[in-house]
């Protein structure tokens, strides 16, 4: 077992239960954290991981059960209490004020003052000391809004260390990171561990959990369903524990049978919101019956490219042809009616109207057409029948199709979008980050659905920040770097290493196919 288990128990939860109206978030959960260990808490979305951590951090209070810090039973009344007891938390959505400097963010709530004024000089010096001690590169005077996500995360970690935290809770820390940034984070965690910090690492990514942790606890539907160590587990066994049944981790697909060119992009250029050109002369073809995956570190123009293709952002130059017809700068409805399905990157913002029911969200792109409309009136019967059918067909887990879609978990929201987009005849599917923040069980379903579309003859363009996803799903991989497609490689000849280098901007010898 774990080599840390003869050490002091720094944090313990005993039989913690927490219910929200209608949901048991945690049921009788017990957990021990030893000094200097990395404990991974693994579970699907909605398994109760974040709730448990928010209880430990004092943002929620348990209905029953006990929390012990260094053997002492405590009532954690709020974050200031947990901070005082040496618990720090890096939330999934960073708790940083964008318009503040790094130093201001770090000292907030724990300010050093000289007389009545803030003593920035001392804070700056302490941040530099911490940065050096733990090898965390942060600039105290930079504004947080100008930092990359990875840098912001380092600021959050320094913020916890600044408060002398020796128990660090990291909630889904890699969800927003590139592979390189995730590796950097693991280095930081190992440094922290070496200096005696205990870490709770929350994730639903199996590879990471196996790579970084000393011990793994698996939560399912609010309960602890198992505990293991990386040595005694495999990705497959962990996935089974997490989901409660065997899951397919690899995408099961036959070789592609490419047909006619459906999507033909020629010399496309576009700007981002700040007017910088971020899509820089992109040419790309996607044929019927094949999946082209775009790999690339986030922020290399993929988002903008998809927005131009779907009519959400103007092209500055170049052409977008769908099945031979020019759709450059056409409005989204025209592009949709041409047989394009779009699974947007940000499902909360661009994919759904959260306060509408599932039924209404399922006809967002067809509500004005028969049978869902009779002239200017809605045909409720048709809309409802469509909802009942799709909820069943796409396995959307919901008490009813008539609840607001905002109440669903991430995976189920994504299924609603997929059901809407794919339940009509399509020629082209554009899927951006189709499985981001989605649990293992739903990922399997989403991948299967995308492959089925390909096999039915649709051209598929997948953009994903997860290299594994691109590699297993795509038939051809296009690497995007600084707004350009720097290489197109057949998926069966691509290696992780080559793709990683291309994504980082390295020039390789042309890969011959």
């Amino acid at each position: 077992m774990d080599k840390y288990m003869d050490r002091e128990i720094v944090l313990e939860a005993r039989n913690v239960t927490k219910t929200f109206p209608g949901v048991i978030a945690n049921k009788d959960v017990s957990l021990k954290l030893y000094r200097g260990e990395v404990l991974a808490l693994l579970g699907e979305n909605g398994a109760g991981k974040t709730t448990l951590m928010n209880i430990l951090y004092g943002l929620y209070h348990q209905d029953s059960g006990e929390i012990l810090v260094r053997g002492e039973a405590v009532r954690i009344s709020g974050p200031s209490e947990s901070i005082r007891r040496g618990i720090g938390m890096v939330h999934q959505h960073f708790m940083l004020v964008p318009v503040f400097t790094v130093a201001e963010n770090i000292m907030l709530g724990a300010e050093t003052v000289k007389g009545l004024s803030l003593d920035i000089a001392t804070v700056r010096r302490r941040i530099r000391e911490l940065a050096e001690q733990y090898n965390l590169d942060v600039d105290p005077d930079a504004y947080v809004k100008d930092l990359s996500v990875g840098q912001q995360q380092r600021v959050e970690i320094v913020k916890a260390l600044y408060r002398k935290a020796d128990i660090l809770i990291l909630d889904e820390p890699t969800a927003v990171l590139t592979p390189q940034e995730a590796d950097d984070l693991f280095e930081v965690i190992r440094t922290l561990q070496a200096q005696g910090t205990s870490v709770i690492f929350i994730s639903h990514k199996l590879k990471e959990v196996l790579a970084i942790s000393d011990r793994i606890m698996v939560l399912r539907r609010g309960q602890v369903v198992g505990e293991t160590t990386p040595a005694g587990a495999t990705e497959r066994s962990l996935a089974e524990m997490m989901v409660g049944r065997s899951v397919l981790l690899e995408v099961d697909k036959q070789p592609a049978k490419p047909g006619e060119v459906v999507l033909d992009v020629r010399g496309l250029r576009a700007d981002d919101d700040r007017g910088q050109q971020v899509v820089n002369d992109v040419s790309l073809q996607v044929r019927a019956g094949e999946i082209v995956g775009i790999a690339g570190v986030q922020g290399n123009g993929q988002t903008e490219l998809v927005e131009v293709l779907t009519g959400l952002r103007p092209a500055r130059a170049g052409q977008v042809l769908i099945a031979g017809t020019d759709y450059t700068n056409a409005v989204p409805r025209t592009i949709t009616e041409a047989g394009t399905a779009h699974i947007p990157e940000d499902r909360q913002e661009d994919g759904l109207v959260l306060s509408y029911t599932i039924a209404d969200n399922l006809v967002l792109n067809t509500y004005y057409l028969p049978p869902y409309a009779n002239g200017i009136a809605r045909n409720e019967d048709a809309i409802n029948a469509n909802a009942e059918k799709l909820v069943k067909e796409y396995d959307v887990r919901t008490p009813s199709p008539f609840v607001p879609v905002g109440n669903l978990s991430g995976g189920n929201k994504q299924k609603v979008i997929i059901a809407r987009e794919l339940s009509r005849p399509i020629k082209l599917l554009i899927a951006a980050q189709p499985t981001r923040g989605v649990d293992v069980g739903s990922i399997e379903f989403i991948h299967k659905t995308i492959v089925a579309q390909r096999d039915a003859g649709a051209a598929v363009l997948v953009v994903s920040a997860e290299l594994d996803e691109v590699m297993s799903l795509a038939d051809k991989i296009a690497v995007m770097y600084h707004g350009q497609i720097v290489a197109v490689v057949p998926a069966d000849q691509a290696t992780r290493e080559d793709l990683g280098l291309l994504m980082a901007g390295a020039h390789l010898e042309p890969v011959t196919s």
Binding site: N54, Y57, L59, Y60, G78, P79, S80, E81, I83, M89, H91, M95, L96, V97, P98, V99, F100, E104, N105, M107, L108, G109, A110, E111, V113, L116, S117, L118, K159
Partner: protein, 342 residues
């Protein structure tokens, strides 16, 4: 606030001075016109400056306060009323006026408490809460004014706050006039400097800005969001109360219904135009004040244009300022959003 914006404001004020000089040509020496123009600008900008500062305290903490107008009006009335009764009770003039000022501050604080309770605790839409207070203030002051003094001789207010001569500066020939001001005008300028320091150099300011930008982040580091918001809204109310006192205890010794005449809203415009910073808001308030000074001067020098047209100038400038022609300003990110604790 950006340098460009300061320069724009400076230029606009210079243009207004130039117009005044042109109007007064031959009627008074140019230097005298400029000095008197600046002294008037400082005075009439006072309620705008204070109103804008009131808004800065509230909005930097994340609470939109469109009730500044109502707070000013209520404070103007009750401050005036208190000074009358204090004077009638035999207090010397200065003491009666100070009682009046205290009553005005208290009125501002009480109305602010109402706004805070509605918008922070009960999470009423902050615009609605502010509107309610504005209507309440108009109705209450109008009603009481009528009920107490209708068809009878209005008792004499004890007077207005005395002018203070700033040592040395006030003794400079001609220009010294600018440095002879009444106490609320001087206090307003001091409050601009103080608020700037408080907001950007102290623990209080850092926490205030944090709850106005990202209250959840503040909460997770143990800051009591509700308490910070309440405190800042109350401070804002007290400052709006001081602005109210300016009308009836410093400017004129009398009250009339609707006396604040939309100054609370122009103050809000000054706050926005000044990008929620004290010095920015002050310079915007001076610009609006200068427009008003032009109106006063135009009347004095007998301009043939109907005075109502010149009187529109501050309001027209306000609209231009808010269109964003001079660049956009950015409110605190959580401004106007009620905070729901997890």
């Amino acid at each position: 606030m950006s340098l460009n914006r300061f320069l724009f404001i400076l230029l606009a004020i210079l243009v207004l001075i130039g117009v005044t000089e042109a109007l007064g040509q031959g009627q008074a020496p140019p230097l005298l016109i400029a000095v008197s123009f600046l002294a008037t600008t400082l005075q009439v900008a006072t309620p705008l400056t204070l109103g804008a500062l009131s808004g800065i305290y509230c909005e930097r903490a994340g609470v939109v306060n469109i009730a500044i107008e109502g707070m000013m009006l209520g404070a103007a009335f009750f401050g005036w009323l208190a000074s009358i009764y204090a004077g009638a009770a035999g207090l010397p003039m200065i003491a009666a006026l100070l009682v009046g000022v205290l009553a005005a501050l208290l009125t501002g604080a009480l109305l602010a408490l109402l706004h805070a309770t509605l918008s922070i605790t009960f999470k009423v839409d902050q615009i609605i809460s502010g509107t309610v207070i504005n209507i309440l203030a108009v109705g209450l002051t109008g009603f009481l004014n009528r009920a107490l003094f209708f068809q009878q001789e209005v008792p004499h207010a004890p007077g207005v706050l005395p002018t203070i001569r700033i040592p040395l500066l006030a003794d400079i020939p001609v220009v010294g006039r600018i440095f002879q001001q009444q106490p609320i005008t001087l206090l307003a300028i001091a409050l601009v400097v103080f608020t700037h320091w408080l907001l950007f150099s102290t623990r209080w300011g850092l926490r205030t800005r944090a709850v106005g930008e990202h209250p959840l982040a503040a909460d997770t580091v143990g800051i009591n969001v509700y308490r910070m918001r309440y405190a800042n809204v109350l401070i804002g109310g007290v400052i709006a109360g001081l602005a109210g006192a300016y009308f009836t205890l410093e400017s004129v010794p009398s009250f009339e219904p609707g006396q604040t005449a939309g100054r609370g809203f122009i103050a809000l415009a000054a706050m926005i135009f000044g990008n929620w910073t004290p010095f920015g808001a002050w310079s915007a308030a001076l610009l609006f004040g200068a427009a008003q000074a032009l109106q006063i001067n135009a009347q004095f020098f007998g301009l043939k244009v109907p005075s109502q047209f010149v009187g529109m100038l501050p309001y027209i400038l306000t609209m231009i300022a808010l269109t964003g022609i001079v660049g956009r300003t950015i409110p605190p990110a959580a401004d106007g959003k009620a905070y729901e604790k997890a």
